[in-house]
C-alpha cells in the first residue's frame, strides 16, 4: 500500500493542471465558481477545446477517440478538472449513448453518429423515464409499432434534461407489449426535428428551465436507427446504467465546492468575526470535509480493484449514494452561509444583491434535491446493493 502517485502519474497530473489553467476560459470558470448554469454555447465551446486536445472522451476505445488512460489517470483527470472548476461534459452523448453505439451498434451507426458526438457537433438527450415509469423504468409504455422500414412512436418521455438544446434523443420504447416487461423494449435513436416530436419545458422549483417533457405523436423513425435487436433494448439500458454510475463521485468537484464554501463563509461577517470561525458552523464544515476524505479513499480503493482487473460492481452504488449526499450537504451549508443575502430570488443569469455567490445559493440548494433522485434514486441504489453486496 502506498499513498503516493508514481512519477508518471504526477507528471500526468501536472500536464492536466497546466492544460486546464491555460485553456479554460475565465468567463466559464467564473460561472462555475459562482454556481451559475452555463448556456449551450459555453458548454459546446469548452467541449470543443477538450476535443481538440483529444481529451473529450477518455472512456472511449482508443481507436474511436479514447485516450487509453489507466483508471488512475482517469481519476486524476476528473479530479483536476473538477478542482479547477472546469464544467463537467454533458454526459448524454459522450458518456451514455456513445458507449451503447460502440458496444451494440452497427458499423454504419458508429460511422454516422460517433464522430459528431466526439466533436460536440450534435447535442443528445436521454429519453428513459416516463410520467408513469420512474424507478420502475422497465414499465415504460412509449409504443413503437413497426410500419415497413420505420417504427411509429407514440408516448411521452419525462425529465429530458436540456432537450431544448438537443438535436437527437435516445429512447427506450416498447415494441412488444405482450412480452415480460424487460423483454419487449427496444433502443431507438430519434432525430428531434422529426415531425411529431415536441418539447415542453418543465420549470423546477428554483425557477430554472433544465428539464422537459418530450412528446412523440406518430413519430416515424427509420429502422436503421435501432441500436441492437428489436426487443433487446434492456440490455443496452442496463449496460448504460452501470456506465452512468461509475463516474458519479467527482471528488475534485466536491473539494472545490468545499474550498468555495470555506472562502465565502470566511468573508461572511458574523458578530465581530466571520461565520467560518463560529464553532458550530466550522464543525459542520469539518464533518463534510471528513466525509469527502472517506469517499475519496473509497473511490481510490474501487479504482485500484478495477486497475487490478476487478469490476467496480455494486460498490459504485455506494459512491452514488454518498457522493450525492455530500453534494447536497455542501449546497445546504452554502445557503445557510448566505443568510439574509440568500433571500432574494435571482432569475437565471441575474445578478446578486450581495456577495456574488448568494445569487445561486438557494437555487442550487433546491436544484440539488434532484441528485439523490436521478440516475437511480438512493433507494434504488440500496436495492441494488442489497442484491449484489449483501447477497439477498
Amino acid at each position: 500500500m502506498d499513498l503516493e502517485f508514481s512519477k508518471e502519474e504526477l507528471a500526468f497530473r501536472e500536464e492536466v493542471r497546466a492544460f486546464v489553467a491555460a485553456k479554460l476560459p475565465e468567463g466559464i470558470r467564473e460561472k462555475i465558481d459562482q454556481g451559475q448554469p452555463l448556456n449551450k454555447q459555453e458548454i459546446v465551446h469548452w467541449q470543443k477545446i477538450l476535443y481538440e486536445k483529444g481529451w473529450i472522451a477518455p472512456n472511449w476505445p482508443v481507436e474511436l477517440g479514447g485516450t487509453g488512460w489507466s483508471p488512475t489517470q482517469m481519476y486524476i483527470f476528473d479530479d483536476e478538472m473538477g478542482a479547477a472548476g472546469a464544467p463537467p461534459v454533458v454526459p448524454f452523448g459522450l458518456k451514455m449513448v456513445a458507449p451503447v453505439i460502440y458496444t451494440f451498434g452497427t458499423e454504419e451507426q458508429k460511422k454516422r453518429f460517433l464522430p459528431d458526438i466526439l466533436a460536440s457537433n450534435v447535442w443528445w438527450c436521454q429519453g428513459y423515464s416516463e410520467p408513469g415509469s420512474g424507478s420502475d423504468l422497465a414499465s415504460l409504455t412509449t409504443r413503437a409499432v413497426r410500419d415497413g422500414d420505420h417504427y411509429v412512436v407514440n408516448g411521452i418521455k419525462a425529465w429530458t434534461t436540456l432537450a431544448q438544446h438537443a438535436d437527437w434523443i435516445f429512447c427506450l420504447v416498447r415494441t412488444d407489449p405482450n412480452a415480460k416487461k424487460q423483454q419487449g423494449i427496444t433502443f431507438l435513436l430519434i432525430d428531434m426535428k422529426t415531425p411529431g416530436v415536441t418539447v415542453h419545458p418543465v420549470i423546477t422549483m428554483e425557477g430554472d428551465h433544465e428539464v422537459n417533457e418530450t412528446h412523440f405523436e406518430d413519430v416515424r423513425v427509420p429502422v436503421a436507427n435501432r441500436v441492437g435487436g428489436e426487443n433487446q433494448g434492456w440490455t443496452c439500458a442496463k449496460y448504460l446504467l452501470t456506465h452512468e454510475r461509475t463516474s458519479v463521485a467527482n471528488i475534485g468537484n466536491l473539494k472545490r465546492n468545499l474550498r468555495r464554501l470555506r472562502r465565502e463563509a470566511g468573508k461572511i461577517k458574523a458578530g465581530d468575526g466571520v461565520l467560518l470561525e463560529q464553532p458550530t458552523f466550522a464543525r459542520r464544515v469539518a464533518e463534510v470535509e471528513i466525509q469527502i476524505t472517506a469517499l475519496e479513499f473509497t473511490t481510490l480503493r474501487i479504482l485500484s480493484q478495477v486497475a487490478r482487473g476487478g469490476a467496480p460492481g455494486a460498490e459504485s452504488s455506494l459512491l452514488k449514494v454518498r457522493g450525492t449526499e455530500i453534494q447536497q450537504a455542501l449546497t445546504e451549508l452554502l445557503l445557510e452561509a448566505a443568510g439574509y443575502e440568500g433571500f432574494a430570488f435571482v432569475p437565471e443569469g441575474g445578478k446578486a444583491l450581495g456577495a456574488k455567490f448568494t445569487a445561486r445559493a438557494a437555487a442550487n440548494y433546491f436544484n440539488f434535491r434532484k441528485v439523490t433522485i436521478y440516475g437511480g434514486s438512493s433507494e434504488i441504489q440500496k436495492n441494488i446493493m442489497t442484491k449484489a453486496v449483501l447477497g439477498l
Partner: protein
C-alpha cells in the same frame, strides 16, 4: 497510489486469522475473561514467537521494521476475534513511546517487550484531563539526581498486568501548558505506586494508578524534560490509527454477522432479511463500514508516508464515532431481542466498539481538534 498488499502482508494476515479461528472461539474467550489476568500469557508468548510483538520496532532494536500497514493488518484481524491480549496498549502505545526513547532505555526495555516477557502500559489521563493530553496535574519534582512523582492516572489499559508503566507528569508550567510535560518510565513495583485494577465494560482490564511520591531516576525520561507532549501526541495519533484498524475488524464482523442472522431468523413466515426496512439498514451498515475502512487506509498510508498525522487521526476518530454508532446500533436493532443478550457475540462487539469510541477522545473532541489543526 496502490492499495495492494504484499505477499508477506497477506501471509501475516493469514497467520493472525488462523490464530483467531483456532484459539479465539467465543467460548474460549469467555473462559479467558473469567481468569484473574483476563488474557493468556501463553498466547502472548505465541505472539512473540510469531514475530507480531517485534513488528513495529527497528531491526537495530531487534524488531522487524514493519510499517503501519503491518500493524493495521494485525489489529484488524485481532479485532475480528475480540482478542484480549494487550497488543494495542503494550506494543503500539508503550512500544511507540519506547521506540522514541534513548539508546539506554531501548536496550533496557525493548528486548523484554519484543520477547513477550514484559507487559507495558501508559498512564496519560489525569482526573482533570478528559481527552486533552496537555492537561496534566500529576507532578514530577526534582530531587537529587531524579524526580518524585505524585498524582493519579485513570483508565490505564493493561495497567493491571504491567511490569513497566510510562506516565506523563508535569515538571513545570500551568496544568494545561503544552510545555512542561515529561514522560517517565517506571517499574510498576516501585514503592508508592498503587493500582486499583478493574474489568472494563468491554471485557478488557485496566487500572487506576496512584503515584504517592514515586521516585524515579533522571535516566528514565523519554525524550527531554519538559518536552514530552509532542512525543505523546505523535504516538497517540499512531495508536488512534491502530485503533481504527481494530474498529474496522469489529465493524466488519458486526455488519456481516447481522446479514447472516437476518437471513436465518424467520418472522411472519419469511427470513427477516426479506424486509426492505432491514435490508436498507444493512446496506447503510455496509456503506458506513466501507467509508470507515477507507479512513483507516487513508490514515495508515499517511503514517507510512511520514506525513503529518494529526488531522488524519482526528478525522478517523470522528468517523469511528459516526460509523461505529450507526453500525453498532443497527446490529443490535436488526438482531432484535437476541441482540440484547450476553449470549450472542454481537453485544460483545458492540461494547468493544463503544469503548473504542471514547478512548483517546470522542467525535466532539476530535472534530474540534480536526478543524483547528493546520493542514
Amino acid at each position: 497510489m496502490d492499495f495492494a498488499f504484499t505477499e508477506e502482508q497477506n501471509l501475516l494476515r493469514d497467520s493472525v486469522r488462523k490464530f483467531v479461528e483456532k484459539d479465539y472461539a467465543f467460548e474460549a474467550r469467555r473462559a479467558l475473561l473469567k481468569t484473574d489476568l483476563g488474557f493468556s500469557r501463553e498466547h502472548w508468548k505465541g505472539f512473540a514467537e510469531l514475530g507480531w510483538t517485534a513488528l513495529p520496532f527497528s531491526e537495530a532494536d531487534g524488531g522487524l521494521s514493519g510499517k503501519a500497514v503491518d500493524t493495521m493488518i494485525v489489529l484488524e484481524e485481532l479485532g475480528k476475534g475480540l482478542v484480549l491480549e494487550p497488543y494495542l496498549p503494550t506494543i503500539v502505545f508503550a512500544g511507540g513511546l519506547l521506540r522514541r526513547a534513548s539508546d539506554a532505555l531501548r536496550e533496557r526495555y525493548l528486548p523484554g517487550l519484543i520477547g513477550g516477557e514484559t507487559i507495558a502500559a501508559v498512564g496519560y489521563a489525569d482526573p482533570e484531563s478528559r481527552f486533552d493530553l496537555a492537561t496534566v496535574t500529576t507532578t514530577a519534582k526534582r530531587e537529587g539526581n531524579g524526580f518524585v512523582l505524585s498524582g493519579k492516572k485513570l483508565a490505564v489499559l493493561a495497567g493491571h498486568a504491567a511490569d513497566i508503566l510510562i506516565v506523563s507528569a508535569r515538571t513545570s508550567g500551568e496544568m494545561n501548558a503544552r510545555d512542561g510535560i515529561t514522560l517517565f518510565v517506571l517499574d510498576a513495583k516501585t514503592a508508592g505506586l498503587e493500582r486499583v485494577n478493574y474489568a472494563t465494560v468491554d471485557g478488557l482490564r485496566a487500572a487506576n494508578i496512584t503515584l504517592n511520591g514515586v521516585k524515579v531516576g533522571a535516566d528514565q525520561v523519554i525524550g527531554e524534560v519538559d518536552k514530552g507532549l509532542p512525543i505523546l501526541e505523535a504516538v497517540t495519533d499512531e495508536v488512534i490509527v491502530a485503533l481504527g484498524a481494530e474498529a474496522t475488524g469489529l465493524m466488519e464482523v458486526l455488519y456481516k454477522s447481522t446479514v447472516a442472522y437476518c437471513k436465518e431468523r424467520k418472522q411472519f413466515g419469511v427470513p427477516i432479511a426479506a424486509f426492505q426496512v432491514l435490508q436498507h439498514r444493512m446496506v447503510d451498515m455496509f456503506m458506513e463500514y466501507e467509508q470507515f475502512k477507507s479512513m483507516t487506509y487513508m490514515a495508515t498510508m499517511t503514517q507510512d508516508a511520514q506525513r503529518p498525522l494529526g488531522k488524519a487521526a482526528s478525522g478517523l476518530k470522528v468517523m469511528l464515532t459516526r460509523c461505529g454508532r450507526m453500525i453498532g446500533h443497527a446490529a443490535i436493532q436488526n438482531h432484535g431481542g437476541m441482540g440484547m443478550t450476553d449470549e450472542l457475540a454481537v453485544s460483545h462487539f458492540f461494547k468493544r466498539l463503544t469503548m473504542i469510541d471514547l478512548l483517546f477522545g470522542n467525535a466532539d473532541y476530535h472534530l474540534d481538534r480536526y478543524r483547528t489543526l493546520p493542514e
